[in-house]
């Protein structure tokens, strides 16, 4: 099981900030395909992946990153701190 987190407008579109997902997805990309099927909001959140960043276990990662052993995957727009 993986905890999936959403921030900023991805959270608003997905309609949730956090959900637990039973998955055997081998990579972030495969997980995104599964999440897209969850709801129209999820599909909208992931409609343009160029605008989406991902962190695996709180470290920035790519969509090709493997998920074996990962406990937490977060999706969010490009950061705007400072």
């Amino acid at each position: 099981m993986i905890h999936v987190l959403y921030f900023a407008w991805l959270r608003e579109r997905a309609g949730t900030s956090r959900e637990s997902v039973e998955t055997r997805a081998p990579t972030v990309s495969a997980l995104v395909e599964e999440l897209r099927a969850r709801s129209e909001g999820h599909a909208l959140a992931f409609s343009d992946l160029r605008a989406v960043r991902v962190a695996v276990d709180q470290k920035l990662a790519s969509f090709e990153a493997p998920l074996d052993g990962a406990r937490e995957v977060a999706f969010f727009p490009p950061m705007t701190g400072g």
């Binding site: 407008w9 727009p77 950061m79 705007t80």
Partner: protein
Amino acid sequence: MEVRVGPEAFDPGAELSAFVAGVAGAGAVVSFTGVVRGDGGLEAMEIEHYPGMTEAAIAGMVDQARHRFGLVAVRVLHRHGRLAAGEPIMMVLTAAPHRRAAFDAADFLMDYLKSRAPFWKKELGPGGSAWVAAKDEDEESLDRWAPDRA
């Protein structure tokens, strides 16, 4: 404590005074303070963050800055939650023996915080609210610090 992330307001002056008092060996102290701008009808800002990752990411940036620029001391504060126009959002403080290192370290930390610390800003005005978009120029500014350009 070098990094503080929280919803509490802070006083940039009090932070600078305490910082200067603690770095007797350093000749140069630079501070950067980011403030919620009040122009364009902006009334408030909501800042969302990723608890846990935020602190770890900033601590990593601070360690990098300390070693790369030979800092005597460094401190980063960043708020989240709702902030009114005119309120300080965040602050970076750097102390070094000479001014170039103190300036460059503060500049470096700002570039990293802008684009690599998990914060997201939403602006609230009379017409509604909107997420702040990341700027290409912020990524370009960050690229200045790539190892092959150093």
